[in-house]
Symmetry: C2
Subunit: 365 residues, 2 copies
């Protein structure tokens, strides 16, 4: 049976190539590759990483950690501030896998020391300029938190971890390269302050997909944690993290109405399928997704210029097309929409279909 | 066990009052109340509508129609353009419920006539100014589509249906009242053109929550289809559709980090919980959610002024607090976040918890 509703179509060959390429890069730099699994959330796709030698992973929630621990992963970093309300899950996980948690305050260090039933590793989250969370790289409390961990019996300080999410705001490779040097300097400075007081064995972990895609040499750090690169998306294409051929998934959306006077079609494919994330391209156009056409083999063609998803409501997508493309489209055709942000789209659709209609399921969490 | 992760907390008493109030309004105007169930997506909450006499419902997909048909609903409008690729589901539904579909082109009328296995009702979708989909109210093809339906054997033309979604862009009750008069005029004009050629038994159906909440007299039409009003949200509060006490749900989010220098906390509660929808308030501030504090009985207090969700990533929410509130918050506390758009938040979280921790599940579709 063919596609009837908005469906995630995955180019498995390309996703595996993206994995291989990043694994090779990490190997060449001599760093640990600890991919972020929040992007795909699938035990089956996780296996593709095992196939290239990956043993350590990153997730964004304890529930996701439990899912992957149940699928045999033995070394998991939860790249989210430790949540005191989930202490039971933390203890459960620490009993069945090598768990790495993030800390960024003395309060959470003392809470864990008091409530943990066994030892675990912690990393201090450092803010190298993104401004979301973590201890600012030059703040005094970095030392206080390191010293607090050092005084505990249950916590082992493994290293410093940063996420330079501000790289998503840039639009050229050169900008990302310059940003990388800037945040690497801050990250190493934070580490040096700890080295100076005797913490000289700490590892450094970074992970944004733009830096990991655009840079080649990571020998200044010990670990990279990119996630989005497995599929990429319109946002990463706009940044310069990937080329068009490296985007490994689209959402196939049925055309349900045509509006010739505005050269727009309505697709079945809305905010509950694509998410409300968007990109603003270099011409200032806001796009909730790129547009391509299905190919006879079930894959998709090149991204059409001057065509984009201009608006989304719950189930409706409005797609702007150029006149020539508009004329060729009929009701019941599929448009292959390149999502603005593949992580959120996967989280909504929960199931992948390969062009040959083989299904891959996502964690039900 | 208490709340550990982002959790939808529902004030059932208030939701039932919202339902009762809208049902009373419809009754006073002598119009059919056909609530949109895409907001709550729950058979159990659907029962609360049955309890006030509702027999007809609206949904936004055929899968949702199947779910509610399986829960005994016998009169269902799918308020989305009929999708040719789902003809098998349409035939299945038409066999087990009184199905109403939307058409807006001759092509879809002929497709249905050719492929339907039994009769069903259709409504012509009319665009009264929103600009998403539907036949523009003054376009010639309105008559062509009505005539096409009239020539079929399988389709019964029941009426005209509009959704004035542009009401979501307004910020005062007076603006919404003026808009209502404007789109009602266009809607009635469209109908008059069909009356003039002999279609004099058509019903009129409208449905946006702002109009249905702010207006009292619907005697110009035959049916109202609001959905969001069952819970309301920050967007509807900003428009003036509801007052604060009428908002019936929040997302309880654990505080996992504090940043005193910027008077911000990080909550476990991101784009995969709240959605990336946002409101821009009258001061021009972009907010992904309002902030209130939990009360001892498990409900929530008033919305705190100068406090809001300023940014979201996949699992992180950044919450701006005033200094006084910031000082009172500790790691592991819950903040009760009023979602910008409750429909998308419910679709993501899939499960409601009443303050007394009773669970209500959402359709797995």
């Amino acid at each position: 049976m063919g596609i009837q509703t908005p469906t995630l179509v995955l180019n498995q060959r390309q996703a595996k190539q993206n994995i291989q390429r990043m694994a090779d890069k990490a190997k060449q730099s001599g760093v640990r590759f600890r991919p972020h699994f929040k992007t795909h959330q699938s035990a089956e796709i996780g296996q593709w990483f095992r196939d290239v030698g990956v043993e350590s992973i990153t997730v964004s929630s304890l529930d996701m950690a439990l899912y992957f621990a149940n699928h045999g992963w033995q070394d998991i970093t939860v790249a989210f501030p430790a949540n005191p309300l989930e202490i039971d899950k933390i203890n459960e996980l620490a009993g069945c896998t090598q768990l790495n948690l993030l800390v960024e305050s003395e309060d959470i260090v003392w809470f864990l020391e008091k409530n943990l039933e066994r030892n675990l590793n912690v990393w201090i989250k450092v803010d190298t300029g993104y401004g979301r969370t973590g201890i600012p790289w030059d703040a005094e409390r970095l030392i206080a938190v390191a010293n607090a961990v050092d005084q505990t019996k249950q916590l082992q300080l493994k290293g410093l971890l940063t996420h330079a999410g501000h790289s998503y705001g840039y639009r050229t490779k050169d900008q990302v390269k310059a940003l990388y040097q800037d945040y690497l300097f801050k990250f190493k400075s934070a580490n040096q302050r700890l080295v100076d007081i005797g913490f000289d064995q700490l590892e450094l972990s970074l992970g944004d997909t733009p830096s990991c895609s655009i840079m080649d040499d990571f020998s200044d750090v010990d670990e990279i944690r990119p996630g989005n690169f497995v599929f990429y998306d319109l946002m990463q294409l706009n940044i310069g993290s990937c080329n068009e051929d490296e985007i490994a998934l689209v959402v196939a959306c049925p055309v349900v109405a045509k509006h010739e006077e505005r050269s727009e079609v309505i697709v079945y494919g809305g905010a509950v399928h694509l998410s409300k994330d968007f990109v603003i391209d270099q011409q200032g156009v806001k796009s909730y997704g790129g547009v391509s056409l299905p190919q006879p083999d079930g894959t998709w063609g090149p991204i059409l210029s001057n065509c984009f998803v201009s608006s989304l409501s719950q189930e409706h997508g409005i797609v702007r097309l150029d006149k020539a493309t508009f004329e060729t489209i009929r009701l019941g055709d599929l448009l292959m929409i390149i999502p603005a942000h593949s992580c959120l789209t996967v989280n909504l659709l929960k199931k992948y279909v390969a062009p040959e209609h083989q299904e891959i399921h996502v964690a039900k969490i």
